[in-house]
Every structure is written in structure tokens, then in C-alpha cells.
């Protein structure tokens, strides 16, 4: 063995290792930082809650415009949008960072949740559309006389809430069951999830599937009978989104520290060993896969009323792969990382697309390359390394 050139050996070692840190080190990390709700986390969670639910509404609604402290409507809309993305990134982190399954199809769950909400919002327009019809405008345009069957529950808000959870959850369950049962892993899984979102996108582009074709749903007027464009409505949605994000964060924190979460990480690091120890990876993977999909669906449902449009481009393979990059930039296998990543990448996006629209794709591309090459642990990994160095 010693005759081997050094580079080949090290290369070989890399090949044998899984992409993520081996079990031993993750166990060590787990011991080092046991789950506790005392002290730090509680303070951070409470102050985040305060920031979202009290300070932001005051700054936006009570502080007059023109004041230095005023939070503009634009900023509210942007932050709300990014918080929806952060939920997706968190969901991606659970499945990718903690379970080692890279999904390139999470956009489809996001969009399905969004479409479920969109259908409800379309019905809420009532007769205020361009054609003054009970049917949504695009159906009038297509000369349809009645709602298609899958719009049956769209006038009930409660049913819509159920659909937001059930539709992405069911698709994830069926898809995941077959995929995990035949032990499709790694890149194969990533590619068929991409095929899934691509196929669904093509389906939603069709007019006859009854989802508004290319244009999707837009021109929403009200939600639960309340005007959707009113500042207070927007603020309420903002607060709900923020609380959802915070809730999911705490939930994920509890989840990954539980026994269930530890099995997930074990599956990530050495699936066959987990299997030989008597666990059935199928159940664990399927559960976290469905949870992750439902989280994305909820994010989509929160996204649509605030952004005001949903169309099939949310299901394009590019949109799904962007979710992965938020997670990777922030730092996989840490829970705050994906949220940081979503804010960093999308903040950069909204700045770039205004200041230098032609350079945004260069920046995004470079980010993909740089993170994979130099920052495997993302921004959070960088911060942690700094801290460790300081301590040493």
C-alpha cells in the first residue's frame, strides 16, 4: 500500500467515506451539545417571538412612514417571503442534512401547498373578477361551465387547511414509499425526485388540468373575507409566517434530538449498519420525508397570499435545486444554518436583481461552487470554526 502515490491514497479515502461526517464524530457532537431547553435557547426563541409578533408590527404599522425606525411594506413583504423560503430550507435540512437524502423535488410540495391555498383564494375573489362570474377568470376564459371535481372543497377554508397538509403529504408518502422500499438512494433518488417535479410542472402547465395553466393563480382579493392587500392583513400573515417558522424550528430541534432523530442521523452515516442493528430504515426515512414535504406545503400556502401569485414555475427543477443551495450555504446538519442560508441567498438575490440583474446568475453559480468546494459546513460551519479557533 505504501507504494501508492499520496494523492491517489487520499483520493481513495475520500471515495470510501460518505459525504457527511462519519458516525463517530456526529455522536461526539451530540454528546457535546445535549438538547436542553434551559437558558440560551429559551431566551433566543422568546426574543425571536417578540421580534416577529410585537416589534415588527409596531415598526410597520404604528411608527409613521419617513421615520428612521419605520419598517417599510416592501421590507415586510420581502422578509415574509424569505421566511417562507426558510421553512423550506429547514425542511430540506431535515431530509438532507440529518438523513442524507438530497431531494431535488421539494419545489413540488411547496407548489402543491401553494396551489391548495391559491384555489381557496381564487374562490374568495367571488364575482369581482374581470368576467363577474362565479368561476375563476381563467375558467371563464376557457369557456368552462362548472368547477372541475378537484375544486370541490376550495370554498371551505378548513378543507383548504386540510388539503395543504394532505396533498403534499400524500404525494410524498406514495412516492417515498415506493422509492425507499426499493432502496433507491443517493443520486438516483435525487434524479427521480427531479423527474417527479418536472413531470408535475408539465402537468400543471396544461390548461385542462384546471390550475390556470402558464399563468397559474393571481389577482387575489381577500382571505376569509378580509381584503388581502390591507397592511394589517399583510402584517397578520407576516406574524403567522414568522411564528410558523419559529414553531418548525423548535419542532425540528426537538425532533433531531429525540431517539427518532438520532436514528435518522445514523441512517445518514451508515444505513446498512442501522439495518443490521435491527432498525427498519424505510419507516424512518418515510416519516421524515413526509414531515419535510408537509413543512414545504405549509410554507407554500403561506407564501401564496403574501406574494400574490402561484404558477408552475415554482415546480421547475431549478426552483427545487435552489432550496438545496439555501440549506447548503447556511450549513447542513445545523438547524439555524438553513434559515441563515435562506436569508443570505434570497437577500443577495433581491439586492442583485435590482442592482446588477445580469450578475445574479454568476453570483448564484459561484455560490454553488464555492460552498461545495470550500464551505462544506456552510456559513454556520465557518462561524463555528472561528469560535473554536478563538477559544484555542
Amino acid at each position: 500500500m505504501s507504494a501508492l502515490p499520496e494523492t491517489t491514497l487520499s483520493r481513495e479515502r475520500e471515495r470510501e467515506q460518505p459525504a457527511n461526517p462519519p458516525m463517530a464524530s456526529s455522536l461526539a457532537r451530540w454528546r457535546e451539545r445535549p438538547f436542553d431547553t434551559s437558558g440560551g435557547v429559551r431566551v433566543i426563541a422568546l426574543s425571536a417571538l417578540l421580534l416577529i409578533a410585537v416589534i415588527a408590527p409596531i415598526l410597520n404599522l404604528a411608527v409613521p412612514q419617513g421615520s428612521a425606525l419605520h419598517l417599510s411594506d416592501y421590507a415586510v413583504a420581502l422578509i415574509a417571503k424569505i421566511m417562507c423560503y426558510a421553512i423550506c430550507a429547514l425542511a430540506m435540512d431535515l431530509i438532507w442534512g440529518y438523513t442524507g437524502i438530497l431531494s431535488l423535488g421539494h419545489g413540488v410540495f411547496f407548489a402543491l401547498g401553494g396551489y391548495a391555498m391559491g384555489m381557496y383564494l381564487m374562490r374568495q375573489i367571488g364575482r369581482d373578477g374581470n368576467y363577474q362570474s362565479d368561476l375563476p377568470d381563467f375558467m371563464v376564459f376557457l369557456d368552462w361551465k362548472a368547477l372541475p371535481w378537484h375544486w370541490a372543497f376550495s370554498d371551505s377554508f378548513v378543507a383548504t387547511l386540510a388539503l395543504i397538509v394532505l396533498v403534499p403529504g400524500l404525494l410524498a408518502f406514495v412516492f417515498g414509499f415506493f422509492a425507499f422500499r426499493s432502496r433507491i438512494k443517493g443520486v438516483y433518488f435525487s434524479i427521480i425526485t427531479q423527474a417527479m417535479t418536472f413531470a408535475t410542472m408539465l402537468l400543471f402547465f396544461r390548461n385542462e388540468t384546471g390550475f390556470g395553466g402558464n399563468n397559474g393563480f393571481t389577482d387575489f382579493k381577500r382571505i376569509l373575507g378580509i381584503a388581502i392587500a390591507r397592511p394589517s392583513t399583510r402584517m397578520l400573515l407576516f406574524v403567522i409566517t414568522g411564528c410558523t417558522l419559529l414553531g418548525f424550528f423548535l419542532f425540528a430541534r426537538w425532533l433531531v434530538a429525540s431517539k427518532f432523530g438520532r436514528v435518522l442521523q445514523a441512517i445518514r452515516d451508515a444505513e446498512s449498519r442501522v439495518m443490521f442493528t435491527g432498525y427498519d430504515p424505510l419507516r424512518y426515512k418515510l416519516t421524515i420525508w413526509v414531515i419535510s414535504a408537509v413543512m414545504c406545503g405549509i410554507a407554500g400556502a403561506l407564501y401564496v397570499p403574501q406574494v400574490g401569485i402561484i404558477n408552475p414555475s415554482e415546480m421547475s427543477p431549478a426552483a427545487s435545486i435552489e432550496i438545496a443551495i439555501w440549506t447548503a450555504v447556511g450549513g447542513r446538519a445545523s438547524l439555524i444554518g438553513p434559515i441563515v442560508g435562506a436569508f443570505f441567498v434570497n437577500g443577495a438575490k433581491s439586492w442583485f436583481t435590482q442592482a446588477f440583474p445580469e450578475f445574479w446568475l454568476y453570483f448564484l453559480g459561484a455560490l454553488f461552487i464555492a460552498v461545495t468546494l470550500f464551505l462544506p459546513q456552510g456559513i454556520i460551519g465557518l462561524v463555528k470554526r472561528r469560535k473554536k479557533e478563538e477559544r484555542a
Binding site: 483520493r11 475520500e14 443520486v187 435525487s190 423527474a195 435545486i321 443551495i325
Partner: protein, 527 residues
């Protein structure tokens, strides 16, 4: 109407008197009087097939006809000619223009077209037939019969026959319709089928007897056309398959042999297509005489351009990510974004125009309803050539041996003195170069734009996944199979649904055979 009937009788009588040159009376009838009467006269003259008539019709269309009293003149180049005799005369001072309403112009144009049917120039006859296709009626029948009798070109003759049948089949006389429906059953033309189907629409044909005959004829034609259609599906399927094959062959090396998920593969194709575009422009600017052969220079240029970009990618990024497929996937996606935006910055976001060389445009008419375009045939041949040379390279050359060796057992290959790093670069460049070739081929059949690669990346990964990793044979079967399956379903359900069904099929297929069509056997299968 009385006037019209009277004129018809009058002109018929006149025609009988002199059938082969325009008479003063004919000219007068066509130029002077009520529109209806003039139209009837024009129709009659046209039907007679007089050889001087076209020139006069043209003069009418050019507003070069004048009248004075009952004399008709054609004014050309400042000289006035007597319309009937053709002699140069003095134009009287009180001459007035003949004004033609739009309706009259249509009549004259129709008459001119029907006269062109008898022209000696085959192209003009073809144009006339085309013109007559819409708005043909029974009044043109004698002329069509006459043209049909003397037509020598087989293709034009069959078109004339179709035209005649089209007139007859909508004739007011039931027996004529029945006869026409019967005679059309012998046709080989898809157009005839369309014609018959048109007549079968509920409001077109009411006689049950004729309807039955129409249906019989349609099914007779249908069975004759079926083979052409079937072969057509196979051909378009093979064509799509050959494109998929070209796209997937590069992936079969980079992904199949090396295990690198290259999401920028589509963009490497795009670079090949743009290289073709650049070479085309160079030829257009500097070597216009050799323009038809630019493709010969474009093929190596596309290969080299993509191979160089690929080598640069491997050296700078991918090399550090071996064994980490998910990271490779993200990094190469990033590269694809940069490449796409780079092309946008250089060439603009719009599609660019790549022209076919002349010898690649057009096609062969294999059957009446089956035309095989040359560019598609060329791509099939090209794909086969690329496949053959690649198979030769992998199986017979030293580089191929090294690539296989490094793939199967990297440390052992290194022990044998193979420079594995170099082999990686070469192999990746080779795979990228083949993507460039695919792009060059695609530029001949589709749009060339910055998004060119995006549309193929999902498809091509499907091909590789379906075919199985580490296999060229699997890739070939998967590409052709998917191509033909896609086109078969397309004929049945439409393009988008077909694509969705194919994707669903692949997802289901992978459930059953996660290793693809041709699974690797032995120890390497576990890797």
C-alpha cells in the same frame, strides 16, 4: 339574373363561332357592362382555355385596360393595342379606365389561375393547382378535365385528379358524388382522406348511400396510409432516440463510467451549438463559397470547445469532489448557471440563427405520407458514427483501457502506473466533447439559445439511469427505447402527457430494477 343568363347564352354562341382567339365580342363582354355579366364572360373565356386570355386577364389585373365606346384597348408602355386584334392603334381621347372591384379582381385572379393550369411551365401549373385548391367550383370542371387529360407530370396529375374529385364530390348531382367517392378509394394521398372526412361532417353530405361509400373509401385509404404512419412514428422515434443517444453518450462516460453527476452537461451541449453558430458565421463572412460545408468544420470545433470547457471544469472543480456525488451535483449546477449567463452576456439572451447547409435541407419522399428530412437522417447516421467511434475508443484504445481500469479499481490502476488524475481529465473532456457534438447536431434541428441544454438534462439523465450505469449498450437501448416510446405515446395522448407518462414509467421502472436495464454484475455492482 336575366341579364346574366342572356349574356351566357350570347357568349356561348360567340365562343362556338371562334374558340381559339379572343374576339371583339368576348373582349367587350369582359371589359364593359355589369359586374355579373363580365364575371360570367370571364369565366367562359377562362374555361375555353384560350391562349391569348392570360395576357388579357393580366392586363385587367394591372389596370391597363381602357374602353372608348365599344372598343377595348390594352395600354402597355404608352402604346395602345386593340385588345382583340392586338394591332397598335391610336388611343381615343375619351378612353376610360376599366375599374375592377375587389370581387372582380378575385374572379379574374381565379380565371387566370385556372388558365395557368394549361401553361407549359410545370412550376406555374403547380402554383395554379395550389391556388385553385381553395374556392374551386363546378364551373372550373371542364378546364380541370382538360388539364388532367394533357398533364404529363405524375405528381401534378394526381393533384389534378384530387382537385377534380373534390369538385365532383360536392357536386349537386348525387350519382356524380357517388362515383367520385368510389373513385377516390384508390387514392394514396393523406389529402384525399382529409377531403373525404370533410364531406363526412354532419352538414356536408346528407345522402345515406353516398355517406356509406364515403366511409368505405376513407377506411380503404386509411389502411393504405397506416403503414406510412407507422413508419413515420418509428422514424421520428428513432430520430428523437438518436438525439437522446448523442446527449446521453457523453453522460454515459462522465456519469456512467466516472460517476460524476454533471448537471452542466446540457450547457456543454449549448456550447457545442454556439461553436457551430460561430463557425457558421466565420464561413458566412470569409468563405461564402464553402458555406455548404461549414458543418464539416463545425463538428470538430464543437467537440473541442466543449471538451476544453469540460477539462477546465474537471481540473478546477470536479476533481476535488470525487466520491461526493451530491456535492458534485450542486457544484456542476452552479457551473451550468455561470455558463448559461456567460453565453447570455456574449451572444445575448435571444436565440441565434443556425442555418442548415443546403444539402441538409429538404428530404426524401419515402411514401405518399412519409417524408424523411435529410437533417434528421444525417443526425441518425451521425449518432451511429459517434457511438461506433466511442465504442471503439473505450474497448480498443489505450485511453479506453485506462478509463476502464481506473473506473473498476482506482488504486490498482494507479499501482500499474496509470496516471489516474490525467485519465480523469481526459475522460471527462471526452464526455464533454461528445456533449458538444450533440449540441452541434441539435443546432441543425432546433433552436440555439442559452436555454438549449435545460430542456435535455432531465431526459438525458433518465436515459442513463434507465440504461444502467457503466454501460454503453444500455445507454443505446434506453435512448432508442425512450425515443420511440415517447413518439408512440405522443401520437396517442399528445406531447406533454406523453412526456409525463414516460417520466412516470421511468420512476416505476427504477422501482423494479434500480440498477437499470443492464445491471453491472459482480462486485462493482455494489459500488
Amino acid at each position: 339574373m336575366h341579364l346574366r343568363a342572356l349574356t351566357v347564352v350570347l357568349v356561348t354562341w360567340l365562343l362556338a363561332a371562334n374558340a381559339h382567339a379572343l374576339t371583339a365580342e368576348q373582349v367587350r363582354a369582359m371589359a364593359i357592362g355589369e359586374n355579373d355579366a363580365r364575371a360570367a364572360a370571364i369565366g367562359l373565356v377562362a374555361a375555353s382555355g384560350d391562349d391569348k386570355a392570360p395576357a388579357f386577364f393580366q392586363a385587367l389585373l394591372d389596370d391597363a385596360v381602357k374602353t372608348a365606346g365599344d372598343k377595348v384597348f390594352v395600354v402597355r408602355d404608352g402604346k395602345a393595342l386593340d385588345a382583340a386584334s392586338g394591332a397598335v392603334v391610336m388611343l381615343p381621347d375619351n378612353a376610360e379606365d376599366v375599374v375592377n372591384s375587389n370581387r372582380m379582381r378575385r374572379e379574374i385572379e381565379g380565371a387566370l389561375a385556372s388558365l395557368k393550369l394549361l401553361s407549359t411551365d410545370a412550376n406555374q401549373r403547380a402554383a395554379a393547382i395550389k391556388e385553385l385548391h381553395d374556392g374551386v367550383d363546378e364551373s372550373k370542371l371542364p378546364l380541370i378535365e382538360k388539364a388532367y387529360a394533357i398533364e404529363s407530370d405524375a405528381k401534378l396529375k394526381s393533384e389534378l385528379g384530387l382537385l377534380r374529385a373534390g369538385v365532383l364530390i360536392s357536386s349537386a348531382d348525387k350519382t356524380k358524388r357517388l362515383e367520385a367517392a368510389k373513385s377516390l378509394a384508390d387514392s394514396h394521398e393523406p389529402a384525399t382522406k382529409t377531403l373525404l372526412l370533410d364531406r363526412l361532417k354532419p352538414d356536408a353530405e346528407t345522402e345515406p348511400e353516398v355517406r356509406a361509400q364515403l366511409e368505405l373509401s376513407v377506411s380503404a385509404i386509411q389502411s393504405r396510409l397506416a403503414w406510412g404512419e407507422r413508419l413515420g412514428v418509428v422514424f421520428t422515434g428513432a430520430s428523437l432516440g438518436s438525439i437522446l443517444l448523442l446527449v446521453a453518450l457523453g453522460l454515459a462516460i462522465t456519469y456512467g463510467l466516472m460517476g460524476v453527476i454533471n448537471m452542466a452537461h446540457g450547457e456543454l451541449m449549448m456550447i457545442g451549438a454556439y461553436a457551430t453558430y460561430v463557425v457558421q458565421n466565420i464561413f458566412k463572412a470569409h468563405l461564402p463559397g464553402l458555406f455548404d460545408y461549414y458543418i464539416v468544420a463545425a463538428i470538430p470545433a464543437a467537440f473541442l470547445a466543449s471538451a476544453l470547457v469540460g477539462a477546465a471544469m474537471e481540473r478546477s472543480v470536479i476533481r476535488f469532489l470525487y466520491g461526493r456525488p451530491l456535492e458534485t451535483l450542486l457544484a456542476t449546477w452552479g457551473i451550468s448557471l455561470v455558463l448559461m449567463q456567460g453565453v447570455r452576456s456574449i451572444f445575448g439572451a435571444q436565440n441565434v440563427q443556425v442555418e442548415n447547409p443546403r444539402w441538409l435541407s429538404g428530404g426524401v419522399q419515402a411514401m405518399s405520407n412519409l417524408t424523411l428530412p435529410f437533417n434528421r437522417i444525417a443526425i441518425i447516421v451521425f449518432a451511429v458514427l459517434v457511438l461506433a467511434s466511442l465504442a471503439f475508443m473505450v474497448a480498443r484504445t489505450r485511453l479506453g483501457l485506462f478509463v476502464r481500469g481506473v473506473t473498476q479499481n482506482r488504486p490498482m490502476a494507479a499501482c500499474m502506473g496509470v496516471n489516474t488524475a490525467k485519465v480523469d481529465t481526459y475522460a471527462f473532456a471526452l464526455g464533454s466533447g461528445i456533449a458538444g457534438l450533440a449540441g452541434c447536431a441539435l443546432s441543425q434541428v432546433g433552436n440555439v439559445g442559452p436555454d438549449l441544454g435545460q430542456g435535455y438534462i432531465v431526459d438525458s439523465f433518465m436515459v442513463v439511469v434507465l440504461g444502467g450505469v457503466g454501460q454503453l449498450a444500455g445507454t443505446v437501448y434506453a435512448a432508442l427505447g425512450l425515443g420511440i416510446l415517447n413518439k408512440l405515446l405522443e401520437g396517442w395522448t399528445g406531447a406533454v402527457l406523453a412526456k409525463i407518462m414516460v417520466l412516470v414509467f421511468i420512476v416505476v421502472f427504477i422501482q423494479k430494477r434500480p440498477q437499470g436495464l443492464f445491471a453491472m454484475k459482480g462486485r462493482s455492482a455494489e459500488a
